[in-house]
Symmetry: C2
Subunit: 251 residues, 2 copies
């Protein structure tokens, strides 16, 4: 992590794999805007013929592109590979996969989340519409009802945070927050069961955050959110030492 001139952007270009070369070529076409959203690539046979490779090779390339969310593949006549914008959901799950399987630990992810979710609040406060606030309020109400019914879940909490992020009216921010909640949910699901009372304070804080947003009081929102997330952080710390604990428990 101490490289000076930031490699990591410049990847090893040596790939003695035909399919990888094809992936790069098509990726370049997409990045370079020569292939656009919705465009259809030639059929597998066609591509293979043009590039002088077999269909298998082309197919492997397409699999990779598909996995990366760059193309969508449809079967049947008029089917084929279509350039697609990775949906927000696709990005989210991709990110979640990456995060949950990476060497990142839960505390690290949680900390990053704190940075982000607190940092976004000024934008949220500035841009939240009346509809946003109304929906947040409804959400809190709903969650509190669920809480009384003993049906409050971490998913609800996550939904709140995502909805709050949406108030920043910035897709990038919302996507990131959404992604953060994926892997964490997994690691926290049982913690929730272990500490069901947590929800009381949690939803109360949610309510207060909404109030602060409604009052356009960024400082107060940040303050509450900081406390709120710090508690989550503590919970993470006491539950697991990693999203995927590096030295896993014996099976």
């Amino acid at each position: 992590m101490s490289e000076r001139s930031d490699p990591g952007l410049y990847q090893a270009v040596s790939t003695n794999r035909m399919s990888e070369a094809i992936v790069e070529q098509i990726r370049a076409l997409i990045r370079g805007d020569r292939l656009r959203l919705g465009d259809r690539l030639p059929s597998e046979r066609d591509l293979g013929e043009r590039m002088g490779v077999s269909r298998v090779t082309v197919r492997e390339a397409l699999r990779v592109l598909e996995a990366g969310g760059l193309v969508e593949i449809r079967v049947g006549a008029k089917g084929g590979a279509f350039v697609t914008a990775p949906s927000s959901a696709k990005i989210g799950t991709g990110l979640a996969d990456l995060l949950s399987l990476s060497p990142l630990t839960a505390p690290e992810v949680t900390e990053a989340r704190q940075v982000f979710e607190v940092g976004m609040l000024p934008l949220v406060v500035e841009r939240a519409t009346d509809e946003d606030v109304a929906e947040l309020r409804a959400m809190v109400k709903e969650h509190q009802a669920a809480l009384r019914a003993g049906e409050y879940t971490m998913a609800m909490s996550a939904a709140f945070h995502v909805r709050l992020a949406a108030c920043a009216h910035n897709t990038a921010i919302e996507t990131l927050v959404r992604s953060f909640h994926g892997p964490l949910l997994m690691s926290l699901r049982e913690a929730q069961v272990a500490a069901p009372l947590m929800g009381h304070r949690g939803t109360a804080e949610h309510r207060d955050i909404v109030a602060a947003v409604a009052a356009r009081d960024a400082g107060r929102a940040e303050e509450i959110m900081t406390t709120h997330l710090r508690r989550t952080a503590r919970r993470v710390a006491t539950t697991a030492d990693g999203v995927r604990s590096p030295a896993a428990a014996p099976r």
Copy 2:
């Protein structure tokens, strides 16, 4: 964007593709810790036989897993698919791809970046070691020299920001910052040429940020960074209206 109970976590499970089923199966094995870091999967032929599918199908599954950074594939005797932790670099490029090809616009990404890079500063200030500061200083010096020589590039600026993020000593944060810089670099490369003088103020601000970090003055660091990034944001706004402009310019 207004789903209440956060689907997106629950994906369509219907995939009538053999290879996808295999992917899911292996992914589950990895998540469930039945396959661990460094473990070697059976050979393609072997896997195919066990699962009752052809080698091609297995290979396509492996391509997907490989693209997702879950396995690494080595050729030769004793080769095969090995379970691997996605490297930070791999995550970064995956993220970069996702970001740069998503419907996210450059202003959005920039804004998210502002949130994040400013928000992380307290952590940076708190945790930066003497070595960190020394290296940052060296970096700034180097960049200023490059600037005088007319060789200052956006890549250098990006490297600085990444190095600064590394001072938070949190891999998640560093990875995110690194990822943010990938797509942005692309969209800014020519802007840099258009406004070469920009570097003077940029490096000066970098220097001041380092000074603030050294002085453990989070407030000051945030202040400078905010200004610094706001200028970048303006540059982005005037250069392109999107990382990948949705309605692209005619070719």
